[in-house]
Symmetry: C2
Subunit: 261 residues, 2 copies
């Protein structure tokens, strides 16, 4: 094939990722063909809002879309791919951890369209600032989806399946794991009748700091300056909480090791 | 004493905390008396910018300031307090982990003026949004420093020494420890020639999410949804990195425990 200007999309899946992408692609002027989801209500709402046709079976999706966007849970990708009809348009998935090969063995034109961001129902997010990591099974596919990505984001990257898995892993550290530390702090405060609100300005500032400083340069605190006095006080405060103590000890040990050995 | 309107300040210490507070207090119309720091150059620059008098010995600081603001490293507070002359003005420290008693045994009017934020030289920060946690050795002191805090911040709290130590501990989790996770992710990417910039929009969004959602509700990811397949893939990618693996396993175990037991 030659690189195409993607003008029509069918959506496979109607969750957070599909919803946010459909919003952005709609604004960029793309038309929707079919919308499939295993959940009747979701596909009905989604297809009405985005002006596409809800289909109840994957075999019924349009055969003539320029793009098929698969945005289902990772463990559903294989099943969905197997159930789709043969199509000539470009089929992409949006998963970090799933290799291109999961779809390229089935479709002539296939790729990956991975937005490296956390999406939630409650919160609008501008796609302009979302990094899109792209891969294609041939260079025409890659060029076509790159042109598309450039319409909705300023941050478009080529990343192969191996690199994407690494990114996904690193993303778990800075999102899910970071959020677990927020949760731990929230619980410590709650147990002492102190409001979590006291920490939110600090949380925001720590995240903003690494937008222009490397995390290594940005590191501060008792472990960084090897302040054993404070570390000891903190540990004794955690004496009755083995779970928090385990976190405290492991991370403190690692920071001290990096900065003082 | 009666509650006073604090109009003059002497600064003990000229680091990040003192610099940011002096900027805010200056804008709020306060006059500077003395400026002390063990470092000649810092106290000279600081006193010129804030229009105070640099003094090389603590015994030479003004005896008539309304407020003495001690902002030195935690392990220097005792030494500084012992070296100060007797004064009638209010003496406060700005430390999270240090109890009020570290200064209240020495001065008739003493308190704590703890800004719960991370300050860096490179980055201006608006004090309006910084939570100030206040304590006084009598209610006149507390009222006086509360009036002062209200001039520079919208977020003023009364917190006793015990509560402040808890806050300081929780702050370590959401700042120093979170930053260590950023650093770990940065290293993983660096080892694979991927730019850290790819993660900064995600980092920002994760921090913004808990400004209006509890961290427990905000939790997502493989551990949260018990996706053993992905967890296993991630672990095998970390096989050669015992340090990252230890973090991965501990935090994954804790998230799974909270959400699935």
């Amino acid at each position: 094939m030659k690189p195409v200007t993607i003008q029509t999309v069918s959506y496979i899946g109607t969750g957070n990722v599909a919803t946010h992408l459909a919003g952005g692609l709609g604004k960029a002027g793309l038309k929707t063909d079919s919308v499939w989801s295993p959940h009747k209500q979701s596909r009905d709402i989604f297809s009405r809002l985005i002006q596409g046709t809800a289909v109840d079976r994957l075999t019924n999706i349009s055969l003539y879309s320029d793009l098929y966007l698969i945005a289902v849970p990772d463990d559903q990708i294989n099943k969905v791919v197997a159930a789709m009809p043969e199509v000539k348009g470009i089929v992409v998935h949006t998963s970090g951890i799933t290799p291109l090969k999961a779809i390229s063995t089935r479709f002539v034109n296939s790729g990956v369209f991975y937005p490296l961001q956390t999406f939630s129902k409650e919160k609008e997010i501008s796609l302009t600032n979302v990094p899109f990591c792209l891969e294609g099974n041939n260079k025409e596919v890659l060029e076509s989806i790159e042109n598309l990505a450039n319409k909705i984001s300023r941050k478009v990257y080529h990343v192969d399946s191996e690199g994407r898995a690494i990114l996904h892993l690193a993303a778990v550290f800075v999102s899910n794991f970071v959020n677990h530390l927020y949760h731990t702090a929230a619980t410590i405060l709650e147990e002492n009748n102190l409001p979590f609100d006291l920490l939110t300005p600090l949380i925001e500032e720590v995240a903003l700091k690494v937008q222009h400083l490397s995390p290594k340069e940005a590191q501060t605190g008792p472990a960084r300056r090897n302040d054993l006095n404070t570390i000891e006080k903190h540990q004794s405060m955690l004496a009755d909480f083995p779970e928090y103590q385990e976190l405290y000890q492991l991370i403190t040990r690692q920071i001290r090791k990096h900065h003082h050995e």
